[in-house]
Each structure stands twice: as C-alpha cells, then as structure tokens.
C-alpha cells in the first residue's frame, strides 16, 4: 500500500475543523457566561446622585465592561481546558503531530475569541435595552460609538483582549501538564502577587496594566496584544514539546 502524501497546512485545517465540531459546547457556555455578565451589569458600573430643591437626581452608568471581563475569564478557562490530557489526546486519534495540534488549538481559541469579543460588545446593546425597559426612568445618552470605524475598533479590542487572556490560560495549562505542582503553585503565586503588589504606584501589576491597557495608539495596542499572545503561545508549544504525545 502506498504512502499517502501529506501537507501540514491541510492537516492543521482538518484539525481545526475537528476541534470546531468537537468543542462546540464552549460556545453554549459562552452564552451562559455572558448572560451572567449582563445580570451583574444591572447594578451599573458607576453612579452619582445629587439632590437640590427637594429633588433627587441619580445617574447610573451601565456598560458591558463586566461582560468583557467575564468573557475573558471564559477564554482563559477554555484555553486551560484544551491543554488537559483528555482534550489534548482527542485529536490524536486522527492524523496529527504536536505542532499541528497546537496550531489548530490556537486557531480554535482565536475563533472563540472572535465569537466572544463580538457578542460581548453587542451585549452592551442588549443591556441598554433591558435597562430601558426594566430599570431606567429616562435614558440620558446611549453612549453608542460615534462612527462605524470606532465601533469596529472597539470590537477588535475586545477580541484581542480575550485572545490575549486565553494565551495565558494555554500557557498555564501547559505548565501544569508539564509539572503537576504548577497547578497549585500558579494560583498561589497569582494570589500572592495580588496581595503583595496589588495596590500602589510602580507595582508589577500596574506596570503590566499600563503597558498593555493604557496604550493610546490603536496600532501599538493591537501589536502588543498580538505579539505577546504569539510569544506566550510559542512558550506553551515549547513546553508541550517536552511531553509525551499521548499516554
């Protein structure tokens, strides 16, 4: 019997399609997570009130920020799940090697980020409609984007943030696969970091936040997000190369 030729790009594509079909359930969990985010957004992100001449004025700001945060956490968990043994081995019943497996996972996570980012931004509209019907007496402003380009930029930002966060999940998952104790060390280290370096000027977390999230230039922000996600995914792939393919 002759040997079949093969093409790495084709196999990555097949693996990607396989993962889109196999892990379709992550998209239903996305819906639930975002509904939860909307529910929690009902309290508003900020509010102020004044009273004068016997009148009370309360202004509450509602935004979908909470939904984006929740969706990022969802992206993190999805990525973590993909690195667990059961998920990693799923694809190996068919043709693959580790590079194609990792790349197709990254492609899958990017697709998931796109779905998560777009729906998260759109959920802002749902939130405003719900607030209009349920909570608010009067809508002072909708806060809608000024033009389609700004709106698209906002969406791309949400997508990239989720992708960026999911790369951390992927790396953390691979680290835990590589060395079991990381499953305990990583959360503990993160907690410790939050306690020791959480508040104040010039702390690690603040530098991190400034570098990534206070970038004024859209182009630079996008490059930073994509660049660091690539570096982190590459590190995870390097780690996965230390593992057996399948036990």
């Amino acid at each position: 019997m002759y040997l079949t030729g093969n093409n790495a790009a084709k196999i990555i594509w097949q693996q990607y399609l396989f993962k889109m079909k196999a892990y379709v359930s992550v998209f239903s969990s996305l819906v639930i997570i975002q509904l939860l985010g909307i529910l929690l957004s009902f309290s508003g992100t900020a509010s102020r009130g004044t009273s004068a001449y016997g009148m009370n004025i309360n202004i509450t700001y509602y935004s979908a920020d909470m939904v984006i945060v929740f969706t990022s956490i969802w992206g993190f968990i999805c990525a973590l799940l993909l690195t667990t043994t059961a998920y990693r081995e799923d694809g190996f019943h068919f043709v693959t090697n580790r590079i194609s497996s990792n790349l197709s996972s990254v492609a899958f996570l990017f697709t998931a980020s796109i779905a998560g980012g777009i729906t998260a931004v759109f959920s802002g509209f749902l939130l405003k409609v719900l607030v209009y019907y349920i909570l608010a007496d009067e809508i002072l402003g909708t806060g809608a984007a000024a033009d389609p380009l700004t709106f698209a930029r906002g969406m791309a930002t949400a997508v990239l943030i989720i992708f960026f966060i999911s790369s951390f999940g992927y790396l953390a998952g691979m680290m835990a696969q590589w060395y079991r104790w990381f499953a305990f060390i990583l959360p503990a280290a993160l907690m410790g970091l939050l306690i020791v370096q959480g508040a104040g000027e010039g702390t690690i977390l603040q530098v991190f936040y400034r570098f990534f999230f206070e970038e004024a230039s859209t182009f630079l922000f996008f490059s930073k997000m994509i660049g660091s996600a690539c570096i982190i995914f590459a590190a995870a792939m390097f780690l996965s190369n230390q593992l057996e393919v399948k036990k």
């Binding site: 019997m1 002759y2 040997l3 079949t4 093969n6 790495a8 196999i11 097949q14 399609l17 396989f18 079909k21 196999a22 892990y23 379709v24 359930s25 059961a86 081995e89 799923d90 190996f92 019943h93 068919f94 043709v95 693959t96 090697n97 580790r98 194609s100 190369n241 057996e244 393919v245 399948k246 036990k247």
Partner: protein, 300 residues
C-alpha cells in the same frame, strides 16, 4: 522493504524499565501478531511505533522515519485500542466523517457496510456504547482507514465470540484485497492463528522470538508418559512446562529438536508425542519460572 526497524530500543518510565533493548524488523504487508504476557511491554512498544511515546534510547524507524511526533508517520499509521475516547459530543457517524477527512485511503462504503452488519446505531454517541460495541466500532475505524501500517492493541476486548470471529474474518478479507502491514497484539492467539503470518513474542520487555507462524506451531513438542520413562529422554534439555497427570504420568513440553530416530524409539517405549499448539507454546515459553498456579494453592 522493511516498514518497521527497531535497533536497541528501550523505554523507561520513571523508575521501571518497560522495554529492554529490543531489536527487530517487520517487512511490508505482513500481518504480525505481538504476543506476550500482561505487562510484557506490548502496549508500550506499539505506542512507540505509532509515535505516541518517545523511546528512551535506541533507534526506531517506521517508513524510514522516526515515528515520534512525526506527521508522515501519523498520516500513514492508525493505532486502535480500547481506550479511544472520542469527544463525547460525537456520534458514530461524526467519527466516521472525521476519519474520512483525515485519512486519504478511507473506505467509506466499507465502514457503512460494517456498521450495518454489526448492528451499530450510527446516530448513537460513542461514549454510550457498551464495551464490546466500542471495540467493534474501533475495529471498523481501523479497517476503514486502510493505513499502510495498522496497529491493533488487543482489539477484541469485550467482543463476544462470534464478533471476534467476524473481526478476524473481516481483517483477513480486507488485507487480501488491500495488503498492508498489520500488527496485532492479542491474548487469544488460537483465534488469530489463521490470519497471522508472523509472531513476535516478547517476554519482560525483551524480544524472545520472532518467527513465522508455521514454525511456531512446530517449535514445541509434548511428551506424555510414565515419569521414569520420560525423564531419561529429556536430560540436559530445557523443559518449558511440566504437568503431572495422575500419580504416575507426566506431560512435558520442550523444544522440538529430537531426531526422527529418537522419536521412533520414544514411541516404542510408550511415550505419546503430541504437537503443542501455537497458543500453548507461547504460554509455556513466556511463563515465569516459579511453577504453576497450582503451587499457590498447595500449602503443605
């Protein structure tokens, strides 16, 4: 052409050595049985060949390439065992469709005919199948993939006798039409006897024998007779198996290297000479030298 070549392959898990230096080669389009006791290292060896595990030392070549993490080897090899956990959302038909997309030689029609024959519900989820049905389905995947190297690791787990028979028959028919290299590990050698061309016997992670099936059937001989008559014939020979029959008689199994003349004389002195089946031969040759299970219960 050799599809598989192994030279001094070893595999160490954390502390335990699973495979001691192991060297062998397998020619193209042979159907080879991998036989060994539990824990002899069969699965480890097969997983190394399939590219799932990294050998600790030595050289492994499959299609002249190192199999570990290799895309070409992966595309031309399929590894079937009873621990294939497909995503739980997949129905049988989904899995078949995936197989069709991944494997170029996939035979869709054969897969569907086999599914229908074995009464599998194509819309059922793989996770909910019974053990035997799962094995049956995995076997169908293995056959339909038509990979130049097909590895079955104990494929008949949980199958009932009639399905096992059908499985070997299907394997035989399909390999005649589409010859390919097949490695099959099994504990039921007598059932697979007819389709295996060669047997690779491993014992405690080492190669013990690698020989054509026909030679294996003639390799051992069984002698039955009175204890004081039989034993003089086997002095300085390696007795692989001893079993007492009644008070006076004994059955011995040993390598068949008696001359025709000797056999005639043995027959005349009242010793019965019997062939030893391939399955029994494997059991005798791989048994540990600590007596039989009977000794465990003899607490005198």
């Amino acid at each position: 052409m050799n599809v598989i070549e192994c030279r001094g392959v070893t595999k160490k898990y954390k502390r335990k050595k699973a495979i001691h230096p192991l060297s062998f080669s397998i020619e193209e389009n042979k159907v080879v049985g991998l036989i060994g006791r539990n824990g002899a290292g069969k699965t480890t060896l097969l997983k190394i060949l399939a590219g799932f595990l990294k050998e600790s030392s030595g050289e492994v070549n499959v299609f002249s390439k190192r199999p570990f993490n290799n895309l070409v080897v992966s595309a031309n090899t399929i590894f079937i065992d009873d621990q294939m956990n497909f995503p739980s959302s997949f129905t049988l038909i989904d899995i078949l469709q995936q197989g069709e997309r991944f494997y170029e030689n996939w035979d869709k029609e054969l897969a569907h005919r086999l599914i229908a024959y074995f009464d599998l519900d194509a819309k059922q989820s793989h996770t909910n199948l019974s053990k035997g049905k799962k094995s049956t389905f995995n076997m169908i995947v293995g056959l339909a993939a038509r990979c130049p190297l097909t590895i079955f690791d104990e494929p008949t787990t949980g199958m009932d006798a009639s399905v096992r028979k059908d499985f070997y028959r299907a394997l035989l028919k399909d390999t005649i039409t589409y010859p390919r290299t097949i490695i099959l590990s099994t504990h039921y050698l007598e059932e697979a006897e007819d389709i295996l061309e060669e047997v690779l016997l491993i014992k405690e992670g080492e190669k013990y024998l690698h020989l054509p099936m026909d030679n294996l059937k003639e390799r051992l001989v069984g002698l039955t007779g009175k204890i004081d008559i039989v034993y003089p014939w086997v002095i300085n020979r390696d007795i692989l198996h001893t079993r007492k029959i009644g008070q006076e008689e004994v059955f011995l199994a040993l390598e068949n290297n008696f001359t025709g003349n000797e056999k005639e004389k043995m027959k005349l002195s009242g010793i019965r000479i019997s062939p030893v089946s391939a399955n029994d031969a494997c059991i005798y040759m791989t048994s540990e030298e600590k007596g039989s299970i009977d000794d465990v219960f003899n607490r005198e």
